[in-house]
């Protein structure tokens, strides 16, 4: 009788330990997802901070490209003030588009392209675009790992009882913002 109770107790303790391990793992993964999300925010802000400097540099060489520059400034203002995921994502796409058009304009000014200041700014911008991309990638990877784990057997039992819900992927509406804008005369 005592032996039977002992075995049952040992089993219960074993299950509890296993469940604890799973729970901790899920918590780690979920926090990683949250962290990855905030990383995207950090990189987007970095882009916002770079733009005034870029505009000033370009103004010195291509002052009469006022329209393009103003579009960039207003797109940035919109992105900074955007609230909520939907609005933010749209504003950021608009900003990417405006920056792309500005880069096209810059192509016509060889002196500007050779300017050291501008070159380092361009490197920073390229890097920022890359970082935003990688932050999104890392976020999506974390979400995928987390979602897979809470859906797989037998971890889904623990996930269900402690209400770990699936996170959503970060998808851009469309990649049209990345394609070259058509210049019409």
């Amino acid at each position: 009788m005592v032996l039977f109770l002992g075995i049952v107790l040992a089993l219960m303790v074993g299950v509890a330990l296993w469940a604890m391990g799973i729970y901790n793992g899920l918590v780690t993964l979920r926090n990683q997802v949250k962290n990855a999300w905030s990383q995207i925010d950090v990189q987007l802000k970095r882009r916002h901070d770079l733009i005034p400097n870029l505009v000033e540099t370009v103004k010195g060489y291509a002052g009469h490209e006022r329209e393009t520059l103003e579009k960039v400034i207003s797109a940035r203002a919109r992105a900074v003030s955007a609230q909520g995921v939907q609005e933010q994502s749209q504003a950021e796409q608009g900003l990417s588009g405006a920056l792309g058009r500005l880069m096209l304009v810059v192509e016509q000014y060889p002196d500007l392209k050779a300017n050291q200041n501008f070159l380092s700014l361009q490197e920073e911008l390229t890097s920022t675009e890359n970082r935003i991309g990688f932050a999104r990638q890392h976020y999506n990877d974390s979400v995928m790992t987390y979602n897979t784990k809470i859906q797989k057997f037998p971890d889904n039992f623990v996930a269900g009882s402690f209400s770990f819900t699936a996170e959503s992927f970060f998808e851009l509406q469309d990649e049209a913002a990345r394609e070259a804008p058509k210049v019409s005369f």
Binding site: T28, R131, Q137, H138
Partner: protein, 452 residues
């Protein structure tokens, strides 16, 4: 990703366990042969003790040791902004804090990563690597190193290396004691004498073979880790072709690096730094050609894509990655390469850039001469005049306060021009500038402007 790390930790524990078994075995056998079979456990314990001491030492000073041995200098962001950006991008993609960056003053292209128990990891690259690679290729290399950090390869390989060292040490000690102290053996004509002889023979055999086996195990681990790091690199950068072409470029330039002090650290590098290294079982890295083939055969960027390519190229049935990692996700698409102009077009310019960077970091003063040469004056130079090595003109070494002797700049046309003052500030001349002299706003130096 955690799956891969955990699985690797499991596999590592197995391999370490095997090596540990070898270590304890040799120790026990030696003790049994020398002092009697009942002392075997003491021998085993002693062997483990040796390993423990060496491991503690290695883990504490390990990373700094590697960096100092390679004469690596720490980099700041302004020294190499592109490299810094690339490293930060890869750190974001891997979900790690940004590692410290170091530069090695060597023309042979290579890179390695180290990590300590606590505190940030470190990645070192050689000047030769910076000179030769495009942005995508550099990103691939850094992704590979970050992969090593993420997979905790450095800890593992350090432990394994220390294990190999301990086995070699214990075996050596055992052999030495047997050789010199052999006279004082117990047992003589007793029946125990035969067993004693057998034990002795076994010990000698073990002492000779154990280091060999340990090294084989070690190199097998090392190769396995390299494949895993390649797969991680593809996954982080989503562009395996970048790492592939970087490896091609690195293996093409066969400037062998300095030899002996690199041996222990060879597994940490991306490509074996020893020029004439053994291939096959004793190589710390898989053959570069095979790695390139696998990377180029990948149809995606995820774990399963790497595994498929591996099976395709290597052909045999042994899997590269473990089942759990493979099951954790499906195929991942690669991205487009970035069309940033590579250094092939202006190789000399890049070489000059990198050597300037090194000189600037070593606090050299750059004095531009009229004939085009930029004279590099070391900080410790005592004297206030220097002769240009090409044309022989005398130049005054600019000090903080403006001296009376001007430096000159010859214009190359009639448009906007930029050039550097000796204080490193960029000065610009507009097309409308017609004066003969201008003053640098940074250091107050008066510069003569000569027409084109």
């Amino acid at each position: 990703m955690w799956e891969a790390i955990r699985a690797n930790q499991r596999r590592s524990r197995l391999l370490i366990g095997l090596m540990g078994g070898l270590l304890v075995g040799v120790g026990a056998l030696a003790a049994a042969a020398l002092a009697g079979p009942d002392m075997a456990w003491a021998g085993g314990l002693l062997a483990l003790g040796v390993w423990g001491i060496l491991l503690t030492l290695a883990l504490q000073r390990g990373d700094q040791l590697a960096l100092t041995a390679a004469s690596a200098r720490p980099l700041r962001k302004e020294d190499a902004p592109q490299l810094w950006n690339i490293t930060e991008e890869m750190a974001i993609a891997a979900g790690l804090p940004m590692p410290r960056l170091y530069l090695i003053d060597d023309d042979a292209p290579n890179a390695f990563a180290t990590a300590s128990r606590k505190g940030p990891a470190a990645v070192a690259v050689t000047a030769g690597l910076l000179r030769r690679l495009t942005r995508d290729e550099l990103q691939g290399v850094i992704a590979h190193e970050v992969g090593h950090i993420r997979n905790k390869d450095v800890h593992f390989m350090t432990m394994a290396l220390v294990m190999v060292g301990s086995i070699a040490l214990v075996s050596d000690m055992a052999l030495r004691i047997l050789w010199f102290g052999g006279g004082r053996r117990r047992g003589g004509g007793r029946s125990g004498g035969q067993a004693q002889l057998l034990l002795l023979a076994l010990t000698v055999l073990a002492a000779i073979l154990a280091p060999l086996f340990a090294r084989l195990l070690y190199f097998a681990c090392s190769r396995q880790r390299e494949y895993l790091a390649d797969a991680s690199a593809a996954r982080f950068s989503r562009y395996p072709a970048g790492l592939a072409s970087a490896l091609e470029k690195i293996s093409k330039s066969d400037t062998g690096s300095r030899g002996r002090e690199m041996r222990a650290m060879a597994p940490l590098y991306i490509v074996n730094p020893l020029a004439r290294s053994a291939v096959g079982l004793f190589s710390s890295h898989p053959p570069t050609r095979k790695r390139v083939e696998i990377l180029r055969a990948m149809s995606g960027a995820g774990w399963v894509d790497y595994e498929k390519a591996y099976a395709q190229v290597v052909g045999d049935r042994t899997p590269c990655l473990d089942k759990k990692t493979l099951a954790s996700e499906g195929s991942i698409a690669t991205r487009q390469g970035q069309a940033i102009p590579g250094p092939e077009a202006d190789a000399t310019e890049r070489a000059r850039e990198v050597s300037d960077l090194l000189d600037r970091m070593a606090h050299f003063l750059l004095v531009p001469c009229l004939c085009g040469v930029r004279i590099k004056v070391p900080e410790a130079f005592k004297g206030d005049q220097v002769k240009c090595p090409r044309c022989g003109r005398d130049h005054a070494i600019p000090t903080a306060s403006p001296s009376g002797i001007p430096i000159s700049y010859r214009r190359t046309g009639n448009s906007w021009e930029s050039f550097r003052c000796s204080c490193d500030r960029v000065l610009q001349i507009s097309p409308a500038f017609a004066a003969k002299r201008m003053r640098c706003k940074g250091c107050g130096q008066s510069i003569e402007i000569q027409p084109a």
